[in-house]
Symmetry: C3
Subunit: 401 residues, 3 copies
């Protein structure tokens, strides 16, 4: 039988487990209760809440930015001076970042030469016992020491250095910030996202918005949540910071664009959500060079052909446009995986109830005997077994045939 | 028995469900059919198609680019002028982006001073009823108003501003584009990718390619799919755009590199696929400052020591090199998860067939009675219990034979 | 019967499969063994090793960098010259990358004009049979040919070009590198990461570190693993490269920051791990323009108002700060999915043992008959079936009790 009609029987036989059906309110209710809990979890939590039926993809994004605004400063060294985009946005274009200079230390007319180093505990010196060493250079020095000890000013003497002279003195940072008006500059963010798996792409300038609106709108979480133009001051305040304080030493801000979308719904429901965070560490105790700044130079050629430069130590706010998001769309694979594991969990219900029925209940022995059929490995011994007996008769009877 | 030899029995007993084996072509076939369908789904779809047996990782990438090309322009203001890489690639290096200037509005010899604002509905004025306010500045203004009303040209009067003078007039964009020859410039893209989970890294310059080929090849989807050198015009056309049209106002292009790899196969099968998309919004109705442009300045020092600058409004095409990809490699975890859920699904087959057998078939009562053994909570009643009886009779009736 | 009390019975009945309990050391042990293996796999591998109970998220990061250092060069053309950050870091700020110039080819005082092209097989010419074509330009040419053939030097004649003259001669790269001292420059990396799903953010400057330490520390894998200041030479060596060799033609390095975190543990355990890799292709056979370099220009205005520029071909090392990481935190969904599939796998144990019991063992027929109850589709035949009978007896025998 196992050999000959094996395939035939395989194909035309149907095997289903034999079931003991126990009529007991207690157990019945426990059983259904557990099953219900599992069902609720699988449907409610896994499917409805966690959208376990969806395939997900993360966003691919590209960003371009544009800053607008102009301000006037008036200082003894520079006189009245207008600052526009070309002056305070450095570099003129970034990828996902844009830097707006809010404060600056200018060192005009630097040229290659010899001059006294900036005074600090290492560089100060007396002429008699010379503490300057030719060729000495440290991480923080502005140039290479010549070994001379020259007067930095009437009172202090410092080691002479080969450097761009005069050396920059960044000990005093202008306060309030030099370009405090930057608070009212505006930042236009153009963001294009793409969910590759679903070949779904969209822009943060929604098709429902017309250009006249865009020309004049300013983002506001309540009134204009989809306007892509931001007031710098607003961004900083939205992150719970004080712009004027931040403007002095500079800082790093994140402008976050959240593109979480449920693509089972209409594409028009997939809209950007903006949020703002400060990224750099405020407390100066646990950081080096607090805030954010960097140096660059403008190079000039003098009429006599020699080169000079203006060294700019630019403090300012760097805006990172951080784009993230997850899109979900119905897919058969995750659905099946979750259904599969859900079904498997139903097994737990039976296991639990069996424990109750077979170990905790008064009638457990009675139930056990109904559920189990004991089969001894070797007959003779088994015969003595009371329960065994009930079981063995058939086999005996069979032998007779 | 439950107490004493519990462990002994636990260890040396094997419990397997008792099965009713129904010899019925119909049910048997249904059962096998459903099972087959499930098996086909699990193996065919989950494993073969979706590679459910693979652990996946997404790509980590780094990109460097290099543009080549030179062109000649001849205008009244500039005269004959050669433009090379240092002139039209701004900034000289980006991260994943490179910008090629295709059109430009130059404002030569700007210097700090007072001059009439660009005329528009807000800035035009008459001297008698003065509509200019000292210190007034708007988002779109080039400087800060002095309050004077001066003549912009013979016909028009506009408010005077403190600004970099003369102010830029970007009302007329050169058409055709100033550097239309950019169409034939070439872009070399070097891309290095890394799949961290599998510690697999590769470059888009394949080891099979030699340097002599690289010196002269130009990417072509059909003939040279692995040449990393692209003609700018080609990229734009491949995205279904017109280069010369795009060159005028600028735009943003994506050069996508797809690194999807099946790492169960040889590494040599893991090759980049290039594709091209336009990222910015063409229709001007739903966008601000269409195309792509930004401003920067070159600063000069005049012989008299005063500073002047050349303001450049650069229109051009910004190429984003977008690298994405997913690598898969056999891993035991996802395999087991999918097998597990697959097995669980087989339970469905039994459930379905039971429904058929126990509710839909003619002989359902007969089958039910074979499958189920009814156990009353309390014996006595159960005997009288209709259902209980129904249960016992058949066996009795059978006895008689 | 199926209709009336259906719901009542559904609610108050509990059905559990009937089990054949085989008392056999062999089968029992096999069964438990297989179950143990599966249990070990599920708990040990899936849960403990692969943390299958955790939801995971990948990192969102932002990076800022700062280079420090100054060096002196002394050449015939430039004389003694100091190079500081503003001179060798181009552009002054990047996003995740920073470029440090280590070698340079300067072409001073270029101006628009006509001059002989750089000699190569294409551009060399004789006056008699002129091989120069007006307007000809190739990818590698520095300008547009005028058609003239002029003498490049005493011996060689080349085609004349309209270009920035004199044209750059980059045939000889300075060796050793011009700014070889860059080896001792330091790179400060500030990195801020964010795990969005868990709203967990952290900086690579750990709160346990104070600013005095930061002022002076240098990263060292053993002694200072959390110092965010790196010696350039060290980075390159850690990647198994030679700095001075790399400095000549430039290259691309990755500074990798690994933020893998188990957020079920204290946040203080979540710390960055630094590692270093070279990204560009060393072997020159399979690459174009080996190393890393780019061109930019500094523009000057001469006293006579004409424009001139200094063309800089900057070779150098570009550092990509690559931040990656995966955070895991307990979550109910993946836990349930893994438990579910784990349970499902237990089914395998029964399947295996059944095969052993029913096909491999001596007593297989005996066991089969205990496990299976054969039910014919039509009764008459089934009655004659010995097995059918054998099966019914027990229910009788039980009745007698």
């Amino acid at each position: 039988m196992a050999s000959c009609g094996a395939f035939h029987s395989f194909l035309f036989e149907y095997d289903t487990p034999r079931i003991v059906l126990i009529r007991s309110r207690k157990v019945g209710l426990i059983n259904r209760g557990v099953q219900l809990a599992i069902l609720a979890y699988v449907i409610g939590w896994v499917f409805l809440w966690q959208k376990g039926y969806q395939e997900t993809d993360s966003v691919v994004s590209s960003v371009t930015t544009k800053v607008k605004g102009v301000t006037l400063t008036n200082t003894s060294t520079l006189g009245a001076r207008i600052w526009d985009v070309a002056d305070y946005v450095i570099p003129p274009q970034g990828e996902n970042t844009v830097f707006v200079m809010t404060n600056v230390i200018l060192t005009l007319n630097q040229s290659q030469g010899r001059c006294p180093e900036l005074p600090d505990d290492k560089t100060e010196c007396q002429v008699k016992n010379n503490s300057c060493f030719p060729g000495y250079v440290s991480t923080h020095s502005n140039g290479i020491q010549t070994g001379e000890c020259v007067s930095y000013n009437s009172s202090i003497k410092t080691c002479e250095v080969l450097a761009w002279c005069p050396v920059e003195d960044d000990s005093h940072i202008p306060k309030p910030a030099f370009l405090q008006a930057a608070e009212n500059f505006t930042l236009l963010v153009k963001n294009n996202i793409w969910y590759r798996k679903f070949n779904f792409s969209k822009r943060n300038i929604l098709p429902t918005i017309n250009s006249t609106y865009l020309k004049n709108c300013i983002y506001d979480a309540r009134t204009d949540p989809f306007c892509p133009i931001f007031r710098l001051g607003q961004i900083v305040e939205a992150a719970g910071q004080d712009f004027q304080e931040m403007a002095v030493e500079g800082g790093v801000m994140a402008l976050q664009i959240n593109w979480d979308c449920n693509l089972d719904r209409a594409a028009s429901h997939c809209v950007p959500k903006y949020s703002f965070r400060r990224l750099d560490n405020k407390d100066t105790a646990h950081t080096v060079s607090p805030g954010y700044n960097f140096r660059f130079a403008k190079y000039y050629k003098n009429s006599d052909g020699t080169e000079s430069r203006t060294l700019v130590k630019a403090f300012g706010i760097r805006f990172h446009i951080v784009v993230f998001g997850k899109a979900g769309k119905f897919d058969v694979i995750p659905t099946m995986i979750n259904i599969g594991s859900g079904l498997a969990l139903f097994g737990v219900a039976t296991v639990l109830c069996d424990i109750v029925v077979l170990y905790c209940m008064k009638k457990r022995y009675y139930y056990r005997e109904k559920k189990y059929k004991y089969v001894e490995d070797y007959e003779l011994v088994s015969i003595s077994g009371g329960r065994g007996k009930a079981d063995l008769l058939p086999s005996l009877s069979l032998e007779r045939f």
